[in-house]
């Protein structure tokens, strides 16, 4: 059984800081050319990282759960800059 992560994230509450993503890919070339595994596309529990046909990684942080996984697993290339969202922004857990 496969599923769309969007259906899960739809239940969550977010206050998106439009135009100010708190996570960024440092150098897109490293993902496309040097990274063999692109494990961020598998490990991110919110599916924020997707790979395009040409091997480029696209990061959309709107559904981010602020866990830190992507930053820690990118320990071969250290290609993720990761900050907390500005105060009050990001995911707002109703239950946690």
């Amino acid at each position: 059984m496969s599923l769309k992560i969007e259906e899960k994230l739809f239940q969550n509450r977010y206050r998106v800081d439009a135009g100010r993503p708190h996570i960024q890919i440092r150098d897109e070339e490293i993902c496309a050319a040097q990274c063999q595994t692109r494990q961020c596309t598998v490990c991110c529990p919110a599916g924020c990282y997707t790979m395009e046909g040409n091997g480029r990684i696209v990061l959309i942080t709107d559904g981010c759960l602020e866990c830190g996984t992507c930053r820690i697993i990118c320990n071969d290339h250290h290609n993720v800059t990761w900050e907390y969202p500005r105060g009050g922004y990001g995911v707002l857990f109703k239950f946690g």
């Binding site: 059984m1 496969s2 599923l3 992560i5 899960k8 994230l9 239940q11 969550n12 206050r15 595994t37 494990q39 598998v42 490990c43 529990p45 919110a46 599916g47 759960l65 602020e66 866990c67 830190g68 996984t69 930053r71 820690i72 697993i73 320990n75 990761w82 900050e83 907390y84 969202p85 500005r86 105060g87 009050g88 990001g90 995911v91 707002l92 857990f93 109703k94 239950f95 946690g96």
Partner: protein, 432 residues
């Protein structure tokens, strides 16, 4: 002129709240900063609250804290693809007050705890992310936030900023977490009528059940699953080490979806309405992964300090206890009119060492390494145990002696006699 406080506490989770509450009650001028909309809105846990740690801070918490169910039964399941073998412990002694542990919903519980902190006299400011520590040479003298523009100063800063603790990393107090020292857990909350939960789990009133699970649900990764009963909801989740996720091709949410579909779990969730999906890291590296816990003008507590006992699924109690010790250390020093220097803050480490926090973590210091190096505990053994039970319990005309022989032959074939004995020895040594 920027305002100066005695203490700044970063974060309003269990360790930050325990620290801020203890400090404020002693009359110190305390500022607590929280990045969420309200305390709890960024916090995720299973969640089990162990009464003891909180009782030492707020003795009458049971009268007012938002608690879900007190736990009277603990189930431990080892799962194969279509079965589980398990041990259940249920006792009416756990159904007599004062109760020992509760399920809680963190967004509600943390909000309550924070109200207590504010009533005690601390200034709590939400929607404010601390961006960096202010240093004067090597001493922490305050924090920089993303909101108030100016800097805020204090004699000492307690970092209770959670597992990611970006502040400690930016300040160079400790390195980035190794993927082998942290687990990623994903969780959902499913709502259903109270009566349904009570019927499904054989419960009355506010009693509850927790199920901890290991085995094939983690696909060979080092990890566990859980299912907890709240008043009108169930939380169900699974967590595995990030170093293992890094080598797999299954997403965390698919792992959770597959676990929910297990024939022993699906009927428990049937008909529930999923209302939130969360993910969180759990610092499970244990004793050997604990960073430096204090320095010139700073201390670190809770998840940020890697204080989690993964073997016993304990974290929030270590967080509260460490937050409390950090606060008590400061109160003592201020009473003695001594500075919060590295030398003087060593008392914090001593308090932790003398308590269950470090004693327990030290006891299990080899456990993470053993499980990392021996994946059979999460693959072969669950299968072998389930198949043995199946063979013995299936009535099919074969005599029991022959069944025992077949089981033993299966064990030996799957994992030589030497392997079985050495695994038992490893576990015994690690638990000793």
């Amino acid at each position: 002129m920027a305002e100066k406080f005695d203490v700044i506490v970063v974060g309003a989770g269990p360790s930050g709240n325990a620290a801020a509450y203890t400090l404020a009650k002693s009359g110190l001028k305390v500022l607590q900063l929280e990045r969420g909309e309200y305390p709890g809105s960024k916090n995720v846990q299973g969640a089990i609250l162990y009464a003891d740690a909180l009782e030492r801070i707020i003795p009458d918490f049971r009268d007012e804290a938002p608690l879900e169910r007190h736990i009277i039964e603990q189930r431990m399941w080892v799962l194969d693809d279509a079965s589980f073998i398990g041990a259940h412990y249920r006792s009416d002694d756990f159904n007599k007050p004062p109760y020992n542990r509760y399920t809680i919903i963190r967004a509600q519980f943390d909000k309550w705890f924070s109200e207590k902190v504010q009533q005690a006299g601390a200034l709590v400011i939400c929607e404010t992310t601390v961006t960096e520590l202010l240093m004067d040479d090597k001493k922490v003298v305050g924090v920089q936030t993303d909101r108030m523009g100016g800097s805020i100063y204090a004699d000492v800063v307690i970092l209770a900023d959670g597992v990611n603790s970006l502040l400690a990393k930016k300040a160079g107090f400790h390195a980035e977490i190794d993927p082998a020292n942290v687990a990623l857990a994903v969780k959902e909350i499913h709502f259903m009528p109270q009566e349904t939960i009570e019927a499904r789990f054989n419960l009355q009133g506010e009693a509850g059940v927790v199920i901890e699970m290991a085995g094939k649900i983690t696909r060979g990764m080092m990890g566990t699953g859980f299912l907890y009963t709240n008043k009108e909801s169930l939380t169900v989740g699974v967590g595995c080490m990030l170093s293992d996720f890094k080598t797999q091709k299954i997403t965390p949410y698919q792992l959770l979806e597959d676990m929910k579909a297990h024939p022993s779990i699906a009927p428990l969730l049937e008909g529930g309405e999923m209302k939130e999906y969360t993910a969180h890291l759990i610092p499970e590296g244990g004793y050997k992964a604990i960073p430096k816990l204090y320095g010139e003008g700073w201390m670190i507590a809770g998840d940020a300090a890697m204080l989690v006992n993964a073997m016993h699924r304990e974290g929030s109690n270590l967080a509260m206890t460490s937050g409390c010790f950090a606060a008590e250390t400061i109160i003592e020093l201020m009473n003695e009119q001594k500075p919060c220097s590295t030398k003087n803050l060593a008392r914090y480490q001593q308090k932790l060492n003398d308590s269950f926090v470090m004693k327990d973590l030290k006891k299990y210091q080899n456990m993470p390494g053993i499980f990392h190096a021996n994946s059979q505990f999460f693959t072969a053994y669950p299968e072998m145990l389930n198949q043995a039970a199946h063979r013995m319990l299936k009535v099919d005309g074969i005599d029991k002696k022959s069944k025992e022989k077949a089981i033993l032959a299966d064990f030996r074939q799957r994992r030589s006699l030497f392997g079985l004995m050495s695994d038992a020895f490893k576990l015994w040594r690690a638990f000793e």
